[in-house]
């Protein structure tokens, strides 16, 4: 079979081409690690493509303590986790209503949430900044928790509503016959059945909220409340010439999302690709 043989060679060629591409693609990551473990003086003096004289954890130490990465990372968790739980809870309520009940405004509200998830943050920045001041939550964890929790309702409702539409209606009808209350149907049937969607969404939202930068810039002033993204921007201001420290700090900042990704990769990808494989 000439064709199969040709295909075999072709696949081997594709494999090699992809291998080279991936090596080049990951060069920035490899380079970042190498920089973080070396001293800036050495790189400046000898250039980057030289054999390292000495590898040390010093840059990481400086970023972690002097650079306050320890505080920033903790803040990121303090902000991300409540916002994540809040948005999943609120949007599962909204999604259930949109998936389960037929009413006049249903489509309009659904489109409002879908549209809302796509708007630029800039249209919200000034009023939300003022609102947070007014509520006394500017420059505190709560200001960030609230905007993330509420803004993400748009995407989460869109996602969960579409998932809940696939749950057979016979289930809720049968439960209703048996005298189950509407809230119980939500809590006992829809929520447990939506677990796969909630896991995918939770993974995705964790990285999105964790990686936010602009809201942290606008709603937080003091270093002690900054999440790690805004913290890195401050680090850039303070260690502008110490690229080793900056890169080490960047690598430290990614650890939580990388852990989430490694363990929940399946959900992450399921979340991102929902709706494309119809």
């Amino acid at each position: 079979m000439n064709y199969l043989k040709k295909r075999k060679y072709l696949n081997a060629f594709i494999f090699l081409a992809l291998l080279l591409f991936v090596i080049a693609w990951l060069l920035p990551v490899f380079g970042a690690f190498l920089t973080a473990f070396r001293s800036m003086d050495e790189i400046m003096a000898k250039g980057f493509w030289t054999i390292p004289e000495k590898l040390s954890l010093n840059n990481f130490k400086v970023a972690w303590t002097e650079g306050n990465l320890n505080t920033y990372l903790l803040n990121s968790f303090i902000i991300t986790i409540p916002a994540l739980i809040g948005t999943l809870f609120l949007s599962s309520l909204a999604a259930y209503a949109l998936a389960q009940y037929d009413f006049k405004l249903n489509m309009a509200l659904y489109l409002m949430f879908v549209g809302g998830m796509l708007i630029p943050f800039q249209i919200l920045l000034i009023p939300v900044f003022k609102l947070s001041n007014f509520l006394g939550i500017y420059n505190s964890y709560w200001g960030l928790i609230m905007i993330h929790m509420v803004f993400q309702i748009g995407f989460c409702t869109f996602f969960l509503r579409n998932f809940m539409m696939t749950i057979p209606e016979e289930l809720s009808e049968a439960a209703r016959m048996d005298g189950c209350s509407e809230f119980k149907i939500f809590y006992r049937i829809y929520l447990p059945l939506s677990k796969p969607a909630l896991a995918a969404l939770g993974t995705l939202e964790f990285t999105w909220i964790f990686n936010d930068y602009i809201w942290a810039l606008v709603l937080i002033r003091d270093n002690k409340f900054k999440p790690v993204t805004a913290g890195l921007a401050s680090l850039k201001g303070n260690f502008i010439t110490s690229w080793g420290v900056l890169v080490a700090g960047s690598l430290l900042a990614t650890i939580p999302t990388i852990i989430v990704f490694i363990f929940l990769q399946k959900y992450f990808i399921r979340g991102l690709t929902m709706g494309t494989g119809k």
Binding site: I14, V22, V114, I123, I147, N211, I214, V218
Partner: protein, 289 residues
Amino acid sequence: MEKRKVQWRFLAVPLIFYTIWVIGPTIYTFYLSLTEWDGLTDPNFIGIQNYLDLFNDSIFYTSLVNNFIWLLIFLLVPVVLGLFLAILLSKKIRWAKGFKAAIYSPMILAPVVIGLIWSWIYHPKAGLLNNTLTYVGLNFLTRGWLSNPETALYAVIGAAVWRHTGYVMLLFLAGLTSIPPTLIEAARIDGATAWQRFRYIILPLLKPATVIVLVITMIQSLRAFDFVNIMTRGGPFNSTNVLANYMYTEAFRNYEMGYGAAVAVILFIIMFIFIFFYLRRIREEELSV
């Protein structure tokens, strides 16, 4: 209990929050764009003056053009590259799973982190790019990538492309898995060339994935802020400025809140054109089910 109204018991709390933090602020920004405001005293109503000023503002035009360059490059590089990679990786290739993970891994990193790492890559003396160019004997190509107004915008977009390509690839891969392999095999046996199979079978069947890719790509390029802000703050000489960063600078650095609001409104309107078509499509799909 009146069953007809029960949906509101579920919707009330999310909707109240959503109105206060999203809907209300959106409307309020439209009003603020008609005022002059330093953020401290009361806003001073000045009609459409901010928009007239924008009309004569060269930084605004630069930012607008930069946004469109960004959009154009995003539609070309990550979309084409992502589709190409997805098609290659959907074949039975050794290590395909690892390759996929490697290509989309930048996506989990925060744009700020990528921006910082790439700022270092572009560093004139110690950076990976210039060092590599020197190493392979292309010294004449080395330059201060981010400090040169000619290259800065493309350098910033390059970092963003690195993050976006994997996302596009994933979306196309998901679309490709829904195409039955027997269909492509049948076309091959009937004598369709690789290009014909791609053009007349794969591409049409990828349409749902393509729509999502295009919407996400457009939205992402117009939302571009993090990369610009962390890498260049819009400089040098506004050569990397984009609307999202210009709005932020005007409102929160220069305290021209009314003017910043006007920039935000323009950005919103441009994006709303895309959002509108997407919403219309979703609505049609829903009604046809």
